[in-house]
């Protein structure tokens, strides 16, 4: 079938595929940070960027060193971390619980979903004066504020995750006459886990953001309190040092969730 081939035009087929799939590029992220810092350093040193606008990165660095050597770093970080832990654990576990109930029971869903969507856009800082009355100015109110802020987004993501559990798996459970409890614990919960964990990423970021609001209420130590004080003294070096610490906390939390996802969700293909 290829007799007359010699006479014809012959060329290779042109390539037209590829692309549109992100490839991992190392070091770019880091170098963006480094460049940014260097530009800021140069800008503030030359006076091109006024010291009112941005602190000098090296000064922020020195503030860290001071915080470290004076031992104040831990004095600020530890209370914040414990507030975060208690508050976020409370809010997230309550949120997961309520989210699952909403996912499972139509009446609870009908009653609570509108309430929760009404509560969602309420800024927690607006309620600060009330938190003082409701929960006092001790740790309780800080826990409560963080818990409250973590609660709503967790509920929303959890019941979404329960809704997304493959219904055919549930039917399978029923077809083997599994008990309601078995279906919930062995099918619904593990199936909702990926959605719950990825929802936690967002809720915990919000918890960190709320640390500052929480520490508005009578906190002497804590990263939020440190930032607030720096802000009120217009001490940009400390303000940025505090912000960097929050950033690091955020990245850490996200890494921890990533770790759990890897461990618990290895079954995902």
């Amino acid at each position: 079938m290829s007799d007359s081939v010699q006479a014809k035009q012959t060329k290779s087929v042109a390539f037209r595929g590829g692309g549109f799939s992100p490839i991992h590029i190392k070091w770019v992220g880091l170098s963006v940070f480094v460049t940014l810092i260097l530009v800021l350093e140069a800008g503030t040193r030359s006076g091109f960027i006024s010291n009112l606008t941005m602190p000098r990165p090296s000064d922020v660095g020195w503030t860290f060193v001071e915080l470290w050597t004076s031992g104040l770093l831990w004095k600020h970080v530890l209370p914040s971390v414990s507030r975060l832990l208690v508050g976020a654990t409370l809010g997230a576990s309550l949120g997961i619980g309520v989210g699952i109930l909403i996912g499972l029971f139509s009446y609870i869903r009908a009653g609570l979903v509108p309430l929760i969507s009404a509560i969602f856009p309420v800024p927690k800082i607006a309620l600060l004066p009330l938190f003082v009355i409701w929960f006092g100015i001790d740790e309780t109110s800080k826990y409560a504020l963080i818990a409250f802020g973590t609660f709503t987004p967790t509920v929303v993501s959890t019941f979404g995750a329960v809704d997304n559990v493959d219904r055919s798996l549930i039917r399978m459970g029923q077809s083997f006459s599994l008990s309601w409890f078995s279906i919930v614990t062995k099918i619904v919960l593990p199936g909702a886990m990926p959605g719950i964990l990825s929802g936690l990423r967002v809720s915990l970021a919000i918890a960190i953001i709320l640390l500052v609001a929480a520490e508005m209420l009578g906190a002497e130590y804590g990263i939020g309190a440190y930032i607030l004080q720096a802000g009120s003294l217009y001490d940009l070096e400390r303000l940025f040092a505090g912000v960097v610490i929050l950033s690091v906390m955020g990245v850490t939390v996200s890494a921890v969730i990533g770790f759990f996802e890897k461990r618990l969700l290895g079954w995902r293909s």
Partner: protein
């Protein structure tokens, strides 16, 4: 245990899906149900298995299921319905746990059914590591583990490629030959129907009714690819269904 359908009819809201179905499902036989898309095959199977309640008529169990049967009416689904977070073993023990079967006793059952489906080496594998054919064999093992009186199979092979399908049909035939089971087997593949069915029930398009019940007498083990008489039955069935299939394929779906 036999099953009997008496005047089964079913509607979803205003839409009537099936009408006046009467059918006997005798113990130890495989009854295949074929019909055009949307004629209610899956619905019928769910009605038989008690996952849905018929609008009219009733499904009767005649005689007691064997005492050793943990779950008399057991489904095998098209999409396998394996829990992706459990291993092969875990997926089978799932359906034993609720009957209080654990530990050694469960181990014995699991080893038994995995041996029957030739999956012994894959006991610890996760579903994501398995090919489609293996996944369906796991689902079949799981069904076998509860000693079903009747297996309800909803297009169990249609998610597989045709070569795997061919192999799995052989497996089902040899499973049945060694130890006959009762099954209702829904498919729209006539080739599968003539290969596996003792009776082939042909449904009309929606609202589904029984058009004809075709008996195939040749023993399962003797049926083979390229058998002329089976090909003739298949062609007969295809002519019965062709018009309906054509019409079904030309309908807009209301969303």
């Amino acid at each position: 245990m036999d099953l009997r359908l008496e005047n089964i009819g079913h509607s979803y809201g205003d839409m009537e899906v099936m009408q006046g179905m009467d059918l006997e499902i005798p113990a130890g036989k495989i009854v295949c149900i074929v019909g055009p898309s949307g004629c209610g095959k899956s619905t019928l199977l769910r009605l038989i298995g008690g996952l849905e309640q018929p609008t009219t008529g009733r499904v009767l169990q005649i005689g007691e299921p064997p005492v050793e049967s943990l779950n008399p009416l057991t489904f095998v689904f098209q999409d396998f319905a394996l829990l992706p977070w459990r291993t092969v073993e875990g997926n089978i023990s799932l359906v034993l746990e609720d009957h209080g079967i654990r530990g050694k006793q469960a181990d014995a059952i699991i080893s038994g059914v995995l041996a029957r489906t030739k999956l012994t080496e894959f006991r610890k594998a996760l579903p994501k590591q398995l090919s489609g054919g293996m996944k369906q064999r796991v689902a079949i093992s799981r069904a076998l583990a509860v000693n079903p009186a009747v297996m309800l199979m909803d297009e169990p092979l249609s998610a597989l490629d045709s070569q795997t399908r061919e192999l799995l049909m052989d497996d089902l035939v040899s499973l049945w030959t060694r130890e006959p089971f009762t099954a209702v087997y829904v498919t729209h593949n006539l080739h599968e129907a003539v290969r596996l069915g003792h009776f082939i029930v042909v449904l009309s398009r929606r609202p589904g009714r029984i058009r004809e019940v075709v008996a195939v007498d040749k023993p399962l083990a003797e049926r083979e690819l390229g058998d002329v008489d089976l090909e003739q039955t298949q062609k007969y069935l295809w002519n019965l269904m062709r018009e309906e299939a054509l019409a079904a394929d030309k309908e807009l779906i209301n969303v």
